[in-house]
């Protein structure tokens, strides 16, 4: 609301004669970030470019039409059996169809669309519904009634009149269609995107197809940003008991140095440190991709992130991401590490022998895997030690909890040693799990 007032005032200052200055002005007042500025710029062009381009198009059409109409018989004439109301309505429709000035036509279309409520459009599939509504509102029925009479007549003259009527009808139809498409660009596109994003966020990662993946990338970046801003507030709670002597002295200088108000020492909070241990064998690797994508999108909030991938042996892959970028690193992980048979026991042992110093009481350890260890020793004892050592140990399992403990699944044996175990299948589940991790540092 304030923005709308500001925008009006700003335009009052700069004027609206020059379109580029108008655009700059509104951009500066309304958009609040670079992304918003891009969106604004697109919107501005879509919204305001219309009359101009349409004018061009319709002036072309008009020229054609001029030639057509001049060569053809003028309009149509009322006949017996025509309802006089229909005739009148049709005449105004014909005028609308052949209108030269697009602005007039726009104004009429706008009025009709307001009556129908086209601006409520949200989905592409609604376009035909709204165009029917608009046609009805225009009273195209009248024209159609006349058309029916002409067809029933069947004479040459009636036929040519019918042609004219048909042409007018299709012109109106395409004008309406064009108008609605444009409105959809403005009002519907964003809503559709939001809706689709919602679906993708809740869908199981295993069921996503290629198109969803691209959407997912954008979505994860956005969710990560949201998560980051939620946790960026660094609260510094006061700790009881510890007196900050210099500050106390300064604060109480006004009382002659008599310490009335005590200033207590503040405890600085740790920045999150995350160790992600990911099973990249077979079916689980898809989930790993999104977990890591999420974690790396959070790199402002989680400055220290170590990623390890394993199937039979554990490898430190953090450097791959730093050096190669996300996608190539992910490819290499799947290719080089994902092929062995899963051995959780060995991998946990690798953590213990090689990377033990990465885990301390400030570290959150996230393990992503299905806990199916091919009948090898699961080394539950090492997991218990990790729990002792780390701030948080969280296990994300993409497998249905009902199947835990069946076959070679060791989930039920691992679970008691984790601070939390979550069944994790969609991007939203990931967001919830990571929110939990970050909360431990707030």
């Amino acid at each position: 609301m304030t923005e709308a007032i500001d925008a009006t005032r700003a335009v009052g200052v700069t004027g609206y004669a020059d379109r580029t200055i108008l655009k700059d002005t509104l951009n500066i007042v309304l958009a609040k970030s670079e992304e918003e500025s891009d969106i604004f710029s697109q919107m501005f062009d879509t919204y305001f470019a219309m009359p101009e381009t349409r004018q061009k198009q319709s002036s072309d059409q008009d020229q054609e039409k001029d030639q057509e109409t001049s060569s053809e018989s003028p309009d149509f004439s009322a006949r017996d059996g025509d309802d006089p109301n229909d005739v009148q309505a049709t005449q105004s429709l014909m005028r609308l169809a052949s209108q030269r000035s697009s602005e007039e036509r726009m104004a009429t279309l706008q009025r009709i669309s307001d009556a129908v409520g086209v601006d409520d459009i949200r989905f592409a599939s609604q376009r035909s519904y709204y165009s029917r509504q608009m046609m009805r509102e225009m009273n195209v029925e009248a024209l159609e009634n006349l058309l029916k009479n002409r067809f029933e007549d069947g004479s040459e003259e009636a036929k040519s009149e019918a042609d004219t009527l048909m042409k007018a009808r299709s012109q109106l139809q395409s004008a309406v269609r064009e108008y609605i498409d444009h409105r959809f660009e403005i009002f519907g596109r964003a809503a559709t995107q939001t809706f689709l994003n919602d679906i993708v966020a809740n869908r199981e990662i295993g069921e996503l197809d290629g198109r969803d993946l691209a959407r997912m990338k954008v979505l994860i970046a956005r969710m990560a940003k949201k998560l980051a801003s939620q946790h960026s507030r660094r609260r510094r709670p006061r700790q009881r008991g510890m007196i900050d002597v210099p500050r106390t002295l300064r604060k109480n200088a006004g009382h002659g140095g008599v310490p009335f108000d005590l200033v207590l020492k503040r405890k600085r909070l740790d920045k999150p440190k995350v160790v992600a241990i990911c099973d990249v064998s077979g079916s689980v690797s898809r989930y790993v991709r999104f977990l890591l994508m999420f974690l790396y999108s959070l790199n402002e909030t989680i400055p220290r992130l170590n990623a390890y991938a394993f199937s039979s042996q554990l490898t430190d892959v953090s450097d791959w991401f730093d050096q190669m970028g996300f996608e190539p690193a992910m490819k290499r992980i799947i290719r080089d590490i994902g092929s062995g048979s899963t051995d959780y026991g060995q991998s946990l042992l690798d953590v213990k022998t090689q990377y033990w110093d990465q885990i301390d009481r400030r570290t959150s350890v996230i393990i992503l895997g299905d806990g199916r260890s091919n009948q090898t020793d699961p080394r539950v004892d090492i997991l218990a030690q990790i729990e002792q050592r780390a701030k948080r140990l969280i296990w994300l399992c993409p497998e249905d909890p009902r199947r835990w403990g069946t076959g070679d699944s060791c989930m039920l044996r691992y679970a008691p040693h984790c601070h939390s175990v979550a069944h994790c299948t969609s991007a939203n589940d990931l967001a919830v799990a990571l929110d939990q991790v970050l909360r431990a540092y707030d």
Binding site: T14, I21, S37, S232, R234, G254, G256
Partner: protein
Amino acid sequence: MSSPKPPEALSSIETISAALSSVGYISTRQISTAIHIGQHLRKPILIEGPAGVGKTDLARSLAQSLDYPLLRLQCYEGLDESKAIYEWKYGKQLLYTQILKEKIGDVLQDADTLEASIERLSGFQDVFFSREFLESRPLLKAMEQPSGSVLLIDEIDKSDEEFEALLLEILSDYQITVPEIGTIEADHPPIVMLTSNNSRELGDALKRRCLHLHIGFPQAEREEEIVRARVPGISDTLLTQLVGFVQGLREQDLRKLPSISETIDWARTLLLMHANELDPQIVRDSLNVLLKHQSDFAAVDGEIDNLVRQATES
């Protein structure tokens, strides 16, 4: 709030551009429009963009061209009101209490009752928390300027969120409330600019109060103008070539893209090296002015000949 007439230079977009260019800052229409609107709506301008595109310099140049003092507040994590707005002069206050202690006998001499003594003392309390003992920090100083000023709050994204909240009163009403004294209003509201490198998302409350200006990397033409303004004595051939090279470099996939400040530094370097034209050898020798990461050197190395050819041919 009394509002003195703004200087002539701020009266239109064109005059702002002219004023800025008179002190060597080559503005764009967008930048000047933002300042123009900011001045008329009395809104702070939040400037975003990559490092080294002249965000801070804009504030400095504007202050210089208007002959206003520039008050700069560099933000960092842990910045609080005692460093940004005001602080009590503890030492002076302490000294004052000492004096008061000595003199208190004289003051209270003829007060017979306790009530009378207290009444007399209460007068002194007001002196104790007065402007005299208030140490102004940049934000308060900006409010106190008798004629206009430019207040630059640099890298606001580096500060904590609590500090943002602290700024809100200042940014929307140009006033500061000191609990012991009351509200201090600016006679002549400063032109406020905030810069951000987007290292964290700023709060909506702050964004809502600001105009948003994004300064990106400049077009070749503007970059040439800027370098010419900043590095006088550079030949036109070299100027075109070096700007062309930098523009080409920005299209590469680098960790840290060279900014305008790097271009200017490089132009100075090339001038020192007595280069009349770009050639791959000179570029290799001086590339460390443009690139700041070892991995970027490696990434660009193979492309240098290509980029130089493109820059020298066009």
